[in-house]
């Protein structure tokens, strides 16, 4: 329990700052930008009205989805997703790399606790922070959806939509753990956090640009893509498998690293 309390204290600030930033960005998009987006629906419709009526009918439905609140949520998720991923990486690097960075691993390891036990406590600490964040995030979005959608009900679609950050965070949590347990030195936190987060973002963007379905396996932000929920109602099952494999591989490897690796003090 002592260790748990210490870990929570260690990541508390990071947790609070990221939660505030992510919620603020979500608000900027959904409250600040959505209305002006919605307003432009007429202008777009005016363009499409010149099309033959047969075509117009089929397009009409798509435009409705396009201008829906969910559609815009999926768009904003590009940015909210990156940030929640970076938050997860940040929390897990802080939890698992803290001793490595401040060169005090040997103090921790002399305590009468097995390394496996320490590993578990650290995971639980990071997970509880992430779950807290998601409760707040889902709550905020629940309010936003209720306000903006006429017939709103909590259905599986809504749950999958607002669950996207949580699922993505789990993947990135594992990536961050692997980084923290694998490297020799940790000089600063910000570098790896930004590199992992934006690196994954660039990969995902390029994969989307070149439209190769098979490559989505290496693009972490396409695993849980709200756009798919809006258009098809479900995540791609193959990508879910990919996400699970990646997460469990990273966690397993980190566990081995953490429990077995020799501690080198520089």
């Amino acid at each position: 329990m002592n260790v748990y309390r210490f870990e929570i204290k260690n990541i508390l600030w990071t947790f609070m700052i990221w939660t505030i930033i992510i919620l603020a960005v979500e608000m900027i998009f959904m409250i600040g930008l959505f209305p002006s987006f919605k307003e432009s629906e007429d202008a777009v419709m005016a363009v499409f009205n010149n099309f033959p009526s047969q075509l117009l009918k089929s397009i009409n439905l798509e435009i409705e989805t396009f201008f829906s609140f969910e559609g815009f949520y999926a768009f904003a998720y590009i940015y909210v997703g990156i940030m929640s991923a970076m938050m997860a990486v940040s929390l897990s690097i802080r939890a698992f790399g803290h001793e490595k960075k401040s060169h005090c691993q040997d103090f921790l390891m002399t305590k009468p606790i097995t390394r496996a036990h320490l590993f578990n406590i650290k995971i639980v600490a990071v997970l509880s922070a992430i779950i807290c964040f998601n409760i707040i995030f889902v709550g905020a979005n629940l309010l936003l959806f209720m306000k903006n959608e006429a017939q709103f009900g909590i259905d599986s679609e809504f749950i999958l939509l607002v669950g996207a950050p949580f699922l993505t965070q789990l993947v990135f949590l594992a990536l961050g753990m692997l980084y923290a347990t694998q490297v020799k030195h940790i000089r600063n936190y910000a570098g790896p956090i930004v590199s992992i987060g934006l690196g994954a973002y660039i990969i995902t963007a390029v994969v989307q640009l070149i439209e190769k379905e098979a490559l989505k396996v290496i693009a972490p932000f396409s695993y849980f893509d709200p756009n798919r929920i809006v258009t098809e109602g479900m995540y791609d099952s193959r990508l879910i498998v990919a996400a699970c494999v990646l997460t469990f591989f990273c966690m397993g490897k980190s566990y081995i690293n953490y429990t077995k690796k020799e501690i080198i003090e520089a």
């Binding site: 432009s40 202008a43 000089r187 570098g191 930004v194 660039i202 520089a266």
Partner: protein, 264 residues
Amino acid sequence: MIKQELKNNRNSFIGFTLGLGLLLMGGFVKFLSLAESGSMDVSELMAAFPKIVLAVFGMNQLDVQTLEGYYAILENYVLVLVIIYAIKLGYNAVARELADHTEAFLFTKPIKRKTILLNKLSVGFFFLILFSILNGVFSKLAIAAYGIDGQINQLILYYSVVVFFNGLLFFALSAMCCAVIKRSERGSTIAYAVFFITYLMTVIYDLIENGRVLKFFVPLRYFESVDLVSGNFKSLWVLMFIVQTVIFITICFYAFIRRDLNEN
């Protein structure tokens, strides 16, 4: 000493260059199929839509079906890459020795601190130039490798320059933050945070119609893709980059020379 610095930075340089190469080489795969499918005229449609609608569609005022437009989109990602790299270089130049607790050894050498910093910064500068040149080379190679028709040499040159200046600006920013702030690892955190905020502002800048006021705060948009594609290089903004860079570097020197060394 310069040799040592070059060696320190070699690995990350190789990493980032690999990333750059993959990005450009991989990115152009799609353009083939696009070009084959025959282009329809979307530019008219685009003019009719507000910026925000296009952005949600995944476009930004550029015709992705032309080589120029497509290239500009890829280069926007290169910009993100170079900035992350530049911040890392700036940190390495100023604060790495502090983090490794080896600066005491370095400062006992009979070299002025000014010279030390100058050497370190020039190594970073060198890598940034190399990175920008490679950006141009890879772009040429990718286009040649896939046998894409079209002459965009000028655009490639423009973008390499833009990549270089953006990198330089954030390199200087990062070096300054690391020198000014006592706990230097905080410095790079702040530099990354500044970049992150700028990036968010860039996103918002792209979304709203009247973002002129924001322009000063978004170095990523000092040169707008639309202008560059149409061959309109506004050199005034280069001055903007240079002025900011010089200010940052000056502060960096000032702080670095006066900093206290306290080993903990």
